[in-house]
Amino acid sequence: MKLLRCPINGWRPLSEFVYGGEVRPMPDPTAASDREWAEYVFCRQGEPGVLREWWYHVPSGTWLVAERDTLKDEVRATWLWPPPDAAQPSPDIPHTETAAASAPAVEAVPDVEVARAAQSAPPVEPAPSGEVARPGEHVPTAEATSAAPRHAETPSQPATQPEGGPEARA
């Protein structure tokens, strides 16, 4: 069974997750030209490579970011939003206690504010109903999370340290 590491709940079967698509930086909507906006809304990094993507852990309602090789289908790391700066080397470290300890961006349970914000804004593509044509219906992704309102009813997450290192296993 394929597993993915949820930063809150640890290793879980992939079937518990829903895919939310590539993390994409949003241009300033007031400054962007129509063309830049269309590019942001529609275009994707389609070629194989290492991508940062949104995933949603359904049972606990957790949005997370995974860094995944889309050719080999190998997840290198998962984080709660925000992931570490792209300039930093990705914590691609073996699955051991010490390795995990040396990868703070992955291991740290971020402050609850951020975690909740990330959970309450679904950065996901249209629901897969398949019934009606909905041209151009897209929900902005990454950015929505930081601006998302806090939902008082968001269940508090267990503040346990996730086990193991950042790499997912297949």
Binding site: D34, Q45, E47, L71, P128, G130, E131, V132, A133
Partner: protein
């Protein structure tokens, strides 16, 4: 059946990347209709080894948008006379295509589709369960009680065609007219100067060409990277499988979007089945046990008596998906560089009409009227052609 030329020339009038059905059909019509025979079709692997040889061979025209319906209607017209045109038996058999509705909202989209179809002269009708039982008596309309069928969209012209034969026949036809088909010739780069295409780099050297058409389905993003253009295309695997052969019993093609399943019986007796796309981006043709398990589960909802039938083979193809479930065809910002992509899970049925319209487009350097709505520029114009409601299975 067709020649395998040894020498790759250093220049052609047109180079077509991808010897799938689309690329081969385009080459055939370029030669037949426009006398353009200095054409090379290049493939990284073998002819028809991409999605053309992996699909479930369903052909239909019961789409949702007028743009789509007109286009697929023309494809069906071409398909009907194609065996004769290419002098090759393509086993084109009209079966009738049934899309089941398990909810009222699905039925509503079907009424919409039926009306658009009929308006444009495509046979399509919403049928109620009693009529459905007459058309396909084997269906368990109760689906074991939990998702009863409330109606269906019935499209009598829905057909099955032998997919490999379509690729072979176009290859032979093109070859006879002088087109060269080079297998095992991957394109590794595309040379562009001052906004004009100059030719392609291949594993066997540079080939000059004023016109280059990329018809590479699941490899489109890699080709686009070579010319530095971004597109909305993402790649997701689509899987399929067949059972052991059974005596002929299922005439129709049966589709249920709610159950993520479609099934037909091949002329060899196998049940040919598919489901929804794999749920995330992946550049791979691997297949999975999850897929067969959930498909079998849903198949038994519709046909409980199939419990003892064995699945013998399964496979996958890389689907080039667009956000509006319509293709991307025609010109690009690079002069002389044309695209045929975004065919995702539904492009086999369009093979002949892609051939004729792409040939026109390359010959005139102007999109054929039938493909105007499908240009790459539609995204920045926010003029999408939403076909998701006509997709075979929920995605």
């Amino acid at each position: 059946m067709f020649r395998q030329p040894e020498r790759l020339r250093c220049e052609y009038d047109a180079v077509i990347i991808g010897a799938g059905g689309h690329g081969l059909a385009a080459a055939y019509y370029l030669a037949r209709d426009y006398g353009m025979t200095r054409v090379a079709v290049l493939d990284r692997g073998w002819l028809g080894g991409g999605n053309t040889g992996r699909n479930t061979a369903i052909v239909r025209a019961n789409y949702l948008t007028p743009e789509g319906v007109r286009f697929y209607q023309e494809s069906l017209r071409l398909f009907r006379e194609l065996s004769e045109e290419l002098e090759y038996n393509l086993f084109y058999t009209e079966r009738g295509h049934l899309t089941l509705a398990h909810t009222e909202s699905t039925l509503r989209t079907m009424r919409w589709r039926a009306e658009v179809n009929k308006h444009l002269g495509v046979e399509s009708e919403v049928v109620r369960p009693d009529e459905l039982a007459r058309i396909c008596p084997w269906l368990d309309l109760q689906c074991g009680g939990h998702v009863p069928v409330v109606g269906a969209l019935y499209h009598p012209p829905g057909a099955i065609v032998r997919h490999d034969a379509v690729a072979w026949a176009y290859a032979r036809g093109a070859d006879q007219l002088g087109v060269e088909i080079h297998q095992r010739t991957p394109v590794t780069g595309i040379r562009v100067r001052e906004g004009r295409v100059e030719g392609v780099e291949t594993a066997r050297g540079f080939v000059r060409a004023q016109r280059v058409l990329a018809a590479v389905a699941g490899y489109t993003p890699r080709i686009m990277q070579m010319v530095g253009l971004r597109t909305p295309i993402v790649i997701q695997p689509l899987q399929a499988c067949v059972t052991e052969p059974l005596k002929p019993w299922l005439d129709q093609i049966v589709v249920s979007a709610n159950l993520h399943l479609y099934v037909s019986q091949s002329t060899r007796g196998e049940l040919v089945m598919g489901a929804a796309l794999d749920p995330y981006v992946l550049h791979s043709e691997r297949s999975t046990l999850d897929f067969v398990e959930s498909l079998a589960d849903h198949l038994l909802d519709l046909f409980p008596f199939l419990g003892g039938v064995k699945v013998t083979r399964q496979w996958a193809g890389m689907s080039d998906m667009t956000p509006d479930f319509s293709p991307i065809m025609g010109k690009t910002p690079i002069e002389g560089f044309y695209l045929d992509t975004g065919w995702g899970t539904w492009g086999f049925k369009a093979t002949p009409v892609c051939g004729t319209t792409l040939a026109y487009t390359l010959a005139h350097d102007r999109p054929h009227p039938l493909i105007e709505p499908f240009g790459l520029a539609r995204f920045e114009q926010y003029a999408l052609v939403g076909e998701k409601g006509a997709a075979s299975v929920g995605h």
